[in-house]
C-alpha cells in the first residue's frame, strides 16, 4: 500500500511535467494565434508591459522627424492605460514632439468622448490634454476605476458611462471582471459592459446582441475573459506578489491553464467545451476499450485453464490460435464489416465485438507461454497433490489474471490505438475519432486534453497494475524485484 501511495503522490508532478512538455511541443509545432504570438511560452520576465510600451512609443514619436505609424498605433491601442505615463512626460518634450504625440493621442481622445476639434492647432490640443490630466489624474487609480465600473454596472446613466469611457482601457480590467452574468436579471448589465469594452477595444464581434439569452451572455463574458487573459499584459503594470504571479500567468501556458479551468478544459475549433466532448466520447470509447481488456482477460484465463488440463498439447493449440488471430488484424476485420454490413456497421456493439477480438491475441500469446511453463510449475504441483485438472484450471484463473495485468501494461498502447482506429473505421463518435480529427486539423485544446488524459490514464494504470498484480499473486512483487521491477 505504501508503494501505491508513493506512486500516486508522484502522479501530480509527473502530470505537471507532461503538460509543460506537451504544451511546449504543441505550441512550437502549431501555428500560434496572432494575438498570443508575442506572449512568452512559460515565463514572462516583464509582465505588465504598458509602461514600457507607452514610453517606447512616446520616445519613437518624439525623436523621429517623420511619421511613426507603428508607434502611433501602439499609443492609440494602449489608450487610457498609457496616459499615466505619456501625459506627465509631455511637458518635457519639444513643441514638435508634443505636437506629434497629441496627434497620436487624438483617436484616444475621441474614444474617451473628449471634445477635440480637428482644426485645432497642436498647442491648443496639448493644452487640452494637460488640463484633462490636471483634473483627472486622480481618477487613474484602481480603486477609482473599480468604483466607476461598479456604479455603471448597477445602473446606467450618461454621467456614469462618461466616467468609465474617460478611463478608457484603464477600466478594462474592472469592466471584464464585472461582466459575467449571475442570472437573467444581469443580462442588461453584461450587454452594457460588453458594449463599452467593445467600443474601447474595437472588438465589435464581442458585443452582446439585444435579443441574446443567458447562455449567450455567459459565452460573451467568457470570450472577453479569454481576450483579457491574452492582452492583459499590454494594459497593466504589476507590483509585489501580483507581479510574481503575473510572470507565470501572463504567458501562453498560463493562458491555457486559465482557459482550461474557466471553460471546461477550453474550447474546440467548433466552439464546444472540451470537457463536454470528452464526456460524450468517453461513453463510446471506454466501453470499447473495456471490451478489449475483457477479451484479453478471457483469453488469458481460458489459456491458463486449458494449460492446466493438458499443457503440451494446449500450448501448441494456443500458439496456433495466437498466430491465426494475428493473421486477422482488427483493422482488416473492421473494414470488412463496413464493406459487408454498410450502415449496419456503425454500431457500438460491433465495435465491442471487434475489440473483444483485438484484445485476444495478446492474451492467447501469454496463455501459450503460460501453458509451456505450466508443466514444471504450479499446476504440476497441484496435479501431484491429486487435485483434479479442472480444479487446478480454476486455481490458475487467479494466476493468469495476475500475469495478464503485469503483461498488459506493455500492450495497452496498442490496444488504445486499436480502439481509436476501430471507432474511426466504424464511424463511431468517440474519443479516438475526435483525436484523429484533431491530429489532422490540429486543435491545441483537444490535443492537450487527450495528452493529459492519456498520461493520467497511463500513470494510474501503472500504479493500479502493480497493486492488482500483487493482490492477485503476492509473488509477483518479489519476482519483479528480482529483475529490477518495482520492489
Amino acid at each position: 500500500m505504501r508503494l501505491v501511495l508513493r506512486r500516486l503522490l508522484w502522479l501530480g508532478p509527473t502530470l505537471l511535467a507532461i503538460t509543460l512538455l506537451s504544451f511546449g511541443i504543441l505550441s512550437t509545432a502549431l501555428p500560434s494565434e496572432v494575438d498570443v504570438a508575442d506572449l512568452p511560452l512559460f515565463f514572462n520576465p516583464e509582465p505588465g508591459a504598458v509602461e514600457r510600451l507607452a514610453t517606447r512609443a512616446l520616445e519613437q514619436i518624439v525623436t523621429s522627424d517623420g511619421q511613426q505609424p507603428e508607434a502611433e498605433r501602439t499609443l492609440a491601442r494602449l489608450g487610457g492605460a498609457a496616459l499615466p505615463y505619456v501625459l506627465p512626460a509631455l511637458e518635457a518634450q519639444s513643441p514638435e514632439g508634443r505636437a506629434r504625440v497629441v496627434k497620436a493621442l487624438r483617436p484616444v481622445g475621441v474614444r474617451m468622448g473628449l471634445e477635440f476639434d480637428e482644426h485645432w492647432d497642436a498647442s491648443r490640443e496639448v493644452l487640452a490634454w494637460s488640463r484633462f490630466w490636471e483634473e483627472h489624474a486622480i481618477d487613474y487609480r484602481p480603486s477609482v476605476a473599480r468604483r466607476a465600473v461598479l456604479r455603471l454596472a448597477q445602473r446606467s446613466t450618461q454621467l456614469r458611462d462618461t466616467e468609465v469611457r474617460q478611463l478608457d482601457t484603464y477600466a478594462l480590467d474592472e469592466l471584464i471582471a464585472q461582466m459575467p452574468p449571475e442570472g437573467a436579471a444581469d443580462l442588461e448589465r453584461t450587454r452594457r459592459l460588453a458594449q463599452l469594452a467593445a467600443d474601447i477595444t474595437g472588438q465589435l464581434q464581442l458585443e452582446l446582441p439585444a435579443e441574446a439569452g443567458l447562455d449567450q451572455a455567459e459565452g460573451v463574458a467568457s470570450a472577453w475573459q479569454d481576450w483579457w487573459a491574452r492582452h492583459r499584459s499590454h494594459y497593466k503594470t504589476y507590483s509585489g506578489t501580483e507581479r510574481i504571479a503575473a510572470m507565470l500567468r501572463d504567458t501562453r501556458y498560463g493562458g491555457w491553464v486559465a482557459q482550461a479551468v474557466r471553460r471546461k478544459l477550453g474550447l474546440l475549433h467548433s466552439g464546444r467545451p472540451v470537457w463536454d466532448v470528452l464526456c460524450e466520447g468517453a461513453r463510446v470509447t471506454l466501453p470499447l476499450f473495456a471490451c478489449g481488456l475483457l477479451g484479453a482477460w478471457l483469453g488469458a484465463v481460458s489459456g491458463g485453464v486449458l494449460s492446466s488440463v493438458d499443457a503440451v498439447r494446449r500450448a501448441r493449440i494456443l500458439r496456433w490460435a495466437a498466430v491465426a488471430s494475428t493473421a486477422l488484424p482488427v483493422l482488416v476485420l473492421a473494414v470488412l464489416a463496413v464493406r459487408w454490413l454498410g450502415d449496419w456497421a456503425h454500431h457500438a456493439w460491433l465495435g465491442a465485438i471487434l475489440m473483444l477480438f483485438a484484445g485476444a491475441p495478446v492474451a492467447l500469446a501469454e496463455g501459450a507461454r503460460g501453458a509451456e511453463e505450466a508443466e514444471a510449475g504450479f499446476p504440476r504441483t497441484l496435479a501431484a497433490l491429486g487435485v483434479s485438472p479442472w480444479r487446478a484450471g480454476l486455481a490458475s484463473v487467479r494466476l493468469s489474471s495476475a500475469r495478464l495485468v503485469a503483461q498488459l501494461g506493455a500492450h495497452l498502447s496498442q490496444l488504445l490505438t486499436l480502439t481509436c482506429v476501430v471507432e474511426s473505421v466504424l464511424g463511431l463518435s468517440g474519443l479516438g475519432s475526435e483525436t484523429i480529427t484533431a491530429l489532422r486539423d490540429p486543435d491545441l485544446n483537444w490535443l492537450m486534453a487527450v495528452t493529459v488524459g492519456a498520461a493520467l490514464f497511463a500513470g494510474v494504470w501503472h500504479v493500479f497494475g502493480e497493486w492488482l498484480s500483487n493482490l492477485l499473486d503476492p509473488r509477483w512483487l518479489g519476482a519483479a524485484g528480482g529483475v529490477g521491477g518495482p520492489a
Binding site: R319, A322, A327, V332, V335, S413
Partner: protein, 278 residues
C-alpha cells in the same frame, strides 16, 4: 520437459514468405518503374488499377512498409539493448526510471505519440512515424534486455563461474549473451509484427506514411469501400499474412527455446520481458 520443435515446414514457409517480401521490396523500383502513373496516383486510384498496376503498387507498398518496420525494429534493438544494458547498473535510479518509463509509454496511445511527432515533422509523416515507432520499440526492448541480463547475471552458473575465476567479459560471452540472443530475436520478430499492424492502422487513418507514399494501410483505406475485391484482398492479405508470419516465426523460436526450471515467480517477469516468451 520434452521440447517440441516448431514444424520445420511451417518455419520454411514463413521464411520463404519473408524472402518474397524482401525480394519484392528490393525489386520494386525496377519492376514498378514502367507504370505510367505516379506512386501517389497509383494508391489513390487503386480501386480501378489494372493487375500490373496493382502489382506495382504492392511492391512499392511492401518496400515502404518493410523499410519503416525494419528501421524502427533496428533502432529499437540497438538503442533498447544499449539502454537496457546500461539500466542494470542503476538499481534504484536508472533502472527504476526505465521501468516507470516503459510502464508509462506502454500505456500511452501510440496513435497520439505518432500524431504529436507528426505535428513538428518536416517530412510530413515519415520521420514522425519512424521516431514514434522506434521509441515504442526502444523502451520495450530495453526492459527485455534489462530483465534478461539481470536474470542471467543473478544465476547460479554465473556465480559458480565467478568463483572459478572467470572474468566478467568471459561470463558475458559464455553465459549472458547467448541467453539474451534468442529472447531478443523473438521479441524483435513479434515486435515487427506488431509494428506492421500499427503502421497499417495509422496509415489507414491518415497518420502513418504520407498520403502520396504507397503503404498497405493507405492502400486499404483507398479501396475500403471499392467494389473490386482484388485490391482489397491484396492489401488486407499483405497486412494479415505479414503479421502472422512474423509473429509465428517469433513464437516458433520462443517455443524452441531451452528454459530453466520455470518457477512460477520467474514466469512473472514484468512488462516487455515476458512478451518474448522469456
Amino acid at each position: 520437459m520434452k521440447q517440441r520443435a516448431a514444424s520445420p515446414l511451417a518455419r520454411h514457409l514463413a521464411l520463404g514468405f519473408l524472402a518474397l517480401l524482401l525480394l519484392a521490396g528490393l525489386l520494386s523500383d525496377w519492376l514498378a518503374a514502367p507504370q505510367a502513373v505516379s506512386a501517389a496516383a497509383l494508391q489513390q486510384e487503386l480501386a480501378s488499377a489494372t493487375n500490373s498496376q496493382l502489382l506495382g503498387w504492392w511492391m512499392l507498398a511492401t518496400r515502404n512498409v518493410l523499410a519503416v518496420s525494419a528501421t524502427a525494429t533496428l533502432f529499437g534493438a540497438l538503442f533498447g539493448s544499449a539502454l537496457g544494458a546500461l539500466a542494470i547498473y542503476g538499481s534504484g535510479g536508472v533502472g527504476g526510471a526505465l521501468s516507470r518509463l516503459v510502464g508509462f509509454t506502454g500505456a500511452y496511445p501510440g496513435l497520439l505519440l505518432v500524431g504529436l511527432f507528426r505535428l513538428g515533422d518536416p517530412s510530413h509523416g515519415v520521420l514522425a512515424l519512424l521516431g514514434a515507432l522506434s521509441l515504442l520499440r526502444t523502451f520495450e526492448v530495453a526492459q527485455l534486455v534489462r530483465a534478461e541480463l539481470l536474470h542471467a547475471l543473478l544465476g547460479d552458473f554465473v556465480e559458480a563461474s565467478r568463483a572459478l575465476g572467470a572474468s566478467r567479459r568471459w561470463q558475458l560471452r559464455a553465459h549472458v549473451v547467448p541467453r539474451l540472443i534468442r529472447p531478443l530475436m523473438v521479441n524483435l520478430l513479434q515486435g515487427a509484427s506488431a509494428l506492421i499492424g500499427l503502421e497499417a492502422a495509422l496509415s489507414f487513418v491518415g497518420l502513418g506514411l504520407p498520403a502520396g507514399v504507397p503503404s498497405w494501410g493507405g492502400g486499404l483505406a483507398a479501396v475500403a469501400r471499392a467494389e473490386q475485391a482484388l485490391p482489397f484482398a491484396v492489401a488486407a492479405a499483405s497486412i494479415g499474412l505479414s503479421c502472422a508470419v512474423l509473429y509465428g516465426l517469433g513464437a516458433s523460436f520462443g517455443a524452441d527455446r531451452a528454459r530453466p526450471g520455470g518457477s512460477p515467480g520467474a514466469a512473472l517477469v514484468p512488462l516487455g520481458a515476458a512478451r518474448s516468451g522469456s
